[in-house]
């Protein structure tokens, strides 16, 4: 009490402050005035705590970049990793180059988005079918695993030959890469409904569809979003990879990356790679945001601060 009062702006010396302590605390909210600003300061600290670690990592990364570029590489080999400012200058600030990259991004984004949407619809549908019957699960699951384990890179050219080096084939590559995490995570979610909850539905005569739509599907949403978040990043990779191999039609980011590396244009090459990964991060974050809106109200994993 005394401490609060004497530290406050109204505190008039030690003895006087102590003498006024009791009435002062009853009548005026001086003590509270001091306590109140503490809250925003604490939330600002918390914001710093969230932002600072990745910033430090970023700083270290840039430092390492400079170190490799200027320290390890001789000037004649510096094209392998030009320093950051050169990448920014050549790739981002030179409009003719950057606009080319942005055009590539538009195409890649379209393929990735189409692939992601198709993979989501197909993946969830397949998982629902698998959740409804052990026989269906057993007959599909091994092939879902195969789909995941065959080197997509190896079959990308085959897809090109089979379906043409078109937008459609690029989308197909995205779907093939993005499908598996959606299927497995959705299936896991659908099958993890609590025993007691199933009993409850059984007791009240719930059929297959009521059970699916009122119990299994809503309960699976957090897992579905986990799968979607992984697949969002993967479909961007799929779009870049498909494009990288096809090299026909309008060039997307993948074709540009191929072009720049063949032409030994490292500034543009790194700029394109950075744009591609930033786009991947963006889609990842976007799905996270949607997950937060959909399941954030009731599920722990969707909340930002679930760990200390």
């Amino acid at each position: 009490m005394t401490a609060v009062n004497s530290a406050g702006p109204a505190g008039a010396g030690g003895a006087a402050g102590a003498g006024r302590a009791a009435p002062g605390n009853l009548a005026d909210p001086d003590g509270w005035d001091q306590l109140v600003p503490a809250a925003p300061r604490r939330s600002r600290t918390r914001a710093w705590r969230a932002v600072l670690p990745p910033l430090v990592t970023f700083g270290c990364f840039i430092g390492l970049w400079y170190l490799v570029s200027y320290g390890l590489l001789s000037p004649s080999r510096r094209f392998l990793l030009p320093p950051p400012q050169q990448v920014i200058q050549g790739g981002f600030l030179t409009w003719s180059q950057f606009s080319q990259i942005l055009d590539g991004l538009a195409l890649t984004a379209k393929a990735a988005a189409a692939g992601f949407v198709i993979a989501t619809v197909v993946g969830i549908a397949v998982a629902i079918a698998m959740s409804q019957s052990k026989a269906i699960e057993r007959s599909i699951y091994p092939y879902a695993v195969v789909l995941q384990t065959i080197p997509i890179l190896a079959i990308v050219p085959l897809i090109g030959f089979a379906f043409g080096f078109t937008f459609r084939s690029r989308v197909l590559v995205c779907v093939l890469i993005a499908l598996f995490p959606i299927v497995t995570n959705t299936l896991f979610g659908l099958l993890s409904a609590d025993h007691g909850q199933h009993d409850l539905f059984t007791l009240h005569g719930a059929g297959r569809w009521k059970r699916l739509w009122k119990l299994q599907f809503p309960g699976a949403l957090p897992s579905i979003f986990t799968g979607l978040r992984i697949s969002a990043g993967l479909s961007v990779i799929g779009a870049v990879v498909g494009d990288f191999f096809f090299l026909q039609g309008e060039p997307g980011l993948g074709a540009l990356i191929n072009l720049y590396s063949n032409r030994l244009e490292p500034d543009q090459l790194y700029a394109a790679v950075i744009v591609a990964s930033l786009f991947g991060v963006l889609t990842f974050a976007l799905v996270g945001l949607i997950a937060q809106r959909v399941v954030g109200g009731w599920h722990e994993s969707a909340r930002g601060r679930d760990r200390a």
Binding site: D194, G196, L200, H204, G205, G219, G297, W298, E300
Partner: protein
């Protein structure tokens, strides 16, 4: 019916839907699980309409199996079960609330499953929520409720269907003693108001004696009924009853029956 003949009797579970008097009858009911474990030796007992029968026993003695049999969640290996109810309310050990639904929508769930029109199930839910003392918490999600409040919501959900028979599977086993006593008091108030009949499984002797008009004491697995004791207190029962010497006598008798081995000898 003695166990020997019961062993050869095909299972029957009759639901007397046309005469819902709220009675419950087990005749020579035994249960062997698919893996060969004998969970329940043939048991016979009945609960009269409006009777609250507690089943006490050590964990794993098959008392939950009795409830699952009564509810039809599993089928008996032998014997006959007759449930005189249009519908039975089952209150699980866990609240089994759906975390993505608010309290109101959780309580409405059974109405939804049975195709009750929306205005009706809304009204039934509101009444049930008020009856368990959760008014004002309708829009909360389960994760922001305490254990006791979750159990209240679970109870409210069962109440919406106005069951003639209630099956309680250790519903207050996971809440603290103070909350449990309060929930017991409130359950008795509901019991008096609605006069359903009920089987109440618990491992708490005090809870059993306080709630029930009869207590069945079960042995360890394979379960069988060791004793069928009357609780000689009339309803309404006041919370102070727990500290009555006569109450201590009843709990003492139940405790003694529990401690006695399957052969009746003290262990």
């Amino acid at each position: 019916m003695n166990p020997v003949t019961a062993a050869g009797t095909p299972t029957r579970r009759a639901v007397a839907g046309d005469s819902p008097d709220g009675s419950l009858q087990f005749t020579g009911v035994s249960k062997r699980f698919d893996d060969g474990t004998l969970a329940l030796l043939p048991v016979s007992f009945s609960a009269l309409p409006g009777e609250l029968v507690a089943i006490v026993g050590p964990s794993g003695c098959g008392k939950s199996t009795l409830l699952r049999l009564a509810a039809g969640l599993t089928s008996a290996s032998t014997g006959t079960i007759t449930v005189g109810a249009r519908n039975a309310g089952y209150v699980f050990q866990d609240p089994t609330l759906l975390p993505w639904r608010s309290v109101r929508r959780n309580v409405e769930l059974l109405g939804e499953l049975h195709g009750v029109p929306k205005p009706e199930r809304r009204a039934a839910a509101a009444a049930a929520i008020a009856a368990v003392g959760l008014a004002g918490f309708e829009d909360k999600y389960p994760r922001s409720l305490s254990g006791g409040m979750k159990m209240r919501a679970s109870l409210a959900r069962a109440l919406t269907m106005s069951p003639d028979v209630f099956l309680f599977d250790e519903p207050f086993g996971a809440v603290d003693e103070i909350t449990r006593e309060r929930l017991n008091d409130e359950l008795l108030r509901l019991f008096q108001a609605r006069r359903f009949s009920a089987l109440f499984v618990t491992h708490s002797v005090t809870e059993a004696a306080f709630l029930a008009s009869r207590v069945l004491v079960m042995s360890e697995r394979p379960g069988r009924i060791l004793a069928d004791l009357d609780v000689p207190f009339s309803y309404p029962r006041l919370p102070e009853l727990r500290y009555d010497p006569a109450f201590a006598q009843v709990t003492g008798k139940i405790g003694a029956a529990l401690r006695a081995g399957p052969d009746g000898s003290p262990r």
